[in-house]
Symmetry: C2
């Protein structure tokens, strides 16, 4: 049976690209209009796996998605880093002068605001998704309408890209994670882990944990503190580490389990950085 992969957004989105990069073309796609719906589809077993953006270079960590993974006890089983590009696409044989309206998600319209200032004849219309508009243009043969979407959408829906990279901020690398409800079997390729723990605001408590990680040859690739809501002076830490020896990782895990509160492995997986 094919795997069912839940993605945020529609076919042709960046989330779809990540799903395809991981599991190929032979997958069932479940399009979810929010990250909450995505998580629900994992919990009610209508999907086996989910693709979720987790941080990007413009906005930093997507804190609500950390909370979704944490609160629903999902397991991170993979990651991918993707450079996000917004392309303007429409039916073939049209120029930018032929485009009367662009339909897209408010966030995409916002990110491409500067570009559209130079083309005031184009009306910006809010829509529920970016890639789904690309699909609609293709299926309903809509002339004069353009979508803002990644390259994969132009490819799937046979649209032509009339402007490349129309987003204002050019350097937007996004990290996506693959999540599932079941704890995965240990896998030889695993060389990265995402950990979460709580510490009291006691001097040196984080340093003590990082000393253990260092002694166990863990390399820190991300650290982020978050105040625990309604518990003054208590902090959650989200830490990612890479390692060479799984045994060393197990050792670090066993020690931190004793030292920190609410210790939890959000996932172990293969490092997605090239």
């Amino acid at each position: 049976m094919n795997k069912t992969i839940a993605i945020q957004g529609a076919e042709g989105s960046n989330h779809h690209k990540v799903a395809r990069d991981f599991y190929g073309n032979d997958i069932q796609l479940k399009e979810c209009m929010s990250f909450d719906v995505l998580v629900d589809s994992l919990l009610d077993k209508t999907a086996n796996l989910g693709v979720m953006a987790i941080e990007n270079t413009i906005a930093g960590s997507i804190i609500p998605n950390y909370a979704l993974i944490d609160n629903n006890n999902l397991h991170v089983v993979g990651e991918e880093y993707l450079n996000i590009h917004h392309h303007l696409m429409c039916l073939e044989n049209q120029t930018i002068e032929d485009i009367k309206e662009v339909w897209s998600h408010p966030m995409a319209l916002l990110q491409c605001k500067e570009f559209f200032k130079k083309h005031p004849h184009i009306k910006l219309v809010e829509d529920v998704d970016t890639a789904e508009v690309a699909k609609r243009i293709s299926k309903e043969n809509l002339k004069g309408i353009a979508a803002i979407a990644p390259k994969i959408a132009a490819e799937i829906f046979d649209l032509s890209i009339i402007e490349d990279e129309i987003q204002t901020i050019k350097d937007n690398s996004t990290r996506f994670v693959i999540v599932q409800t079941n704890e995965p079997a240990i896998n030889e390729e695993v060389n990265k882990a995402s950990l979460k723990f709580q510490l009291n605001h006691k001097r040196g408590s984080l340093a003590a944990i990082l000393n253990v990680l260092s002694d166990c040859k863990m390399n820190l690739t991300k650290i982020q503190s978050l105040p625990v809501i309604e518990m003054p002076w208590k902090y959650s830490f989200f830490v990612d580490v890479t390692f060479e020896e799984y045994k060393e990782y197990e050792k670090a895990k066993a020690i931190i389990e004793i030292m920190a509160e609410e210790f939890k492995i959000l996932g172990t997986y293969k490092n997605g950085r090239k």
Copy 2:
């Protein structure tokens, strides 16, 4: 001479509230339509101080603002934590049924989407700012139009709040900082510092720094790593510490200066947490 305070957004915004909490009503306000414009007004000396949102509980750190402070060598001289509330306001003696259109910033409209789903007769119209619409409604006596803005706007522009707290996510605490171009004089009230440094991806390098902070009795209230763009395996760290003794802070500073690269004090100021 009155101080000129640059704020992001308009009179009546949350940024204005912070300016007023710090410097009272007897200030010159400089309204800036972006954080870049705000920084420019500090650099060209048309404003003495700026108020800038820096992180919030929904989205985490506002990474581009960290970059603005860092790249322009601004000094953080104060901070305030504010709970963000979106209120729907209009001219007096109107009910929600009388409202035909809401004009607001796309981000505010997005954050209140669920509320407006329940009131489909209201047309959502994008505008450049939240509080500025409140001002316009008041000045031009616009009936049937509502703004989404904080309480301070209703107070200043004499509008009536017809719905409280219309944002979907209720718990949104935002941290604002006060920034200036000149290095401030040392002040007795100072008990918090924002530091930035770079480390190579060498095992234990961050633990070593945190050990120094701990030995010098610094309490960590925030830590965040950011990969340095185009320098693989090099990380920037933004760290906030609170302390009781300024002398201990100076000691920590002197040691980290030797241990880390690109060490920089983003500011020393009075802790804004109650």
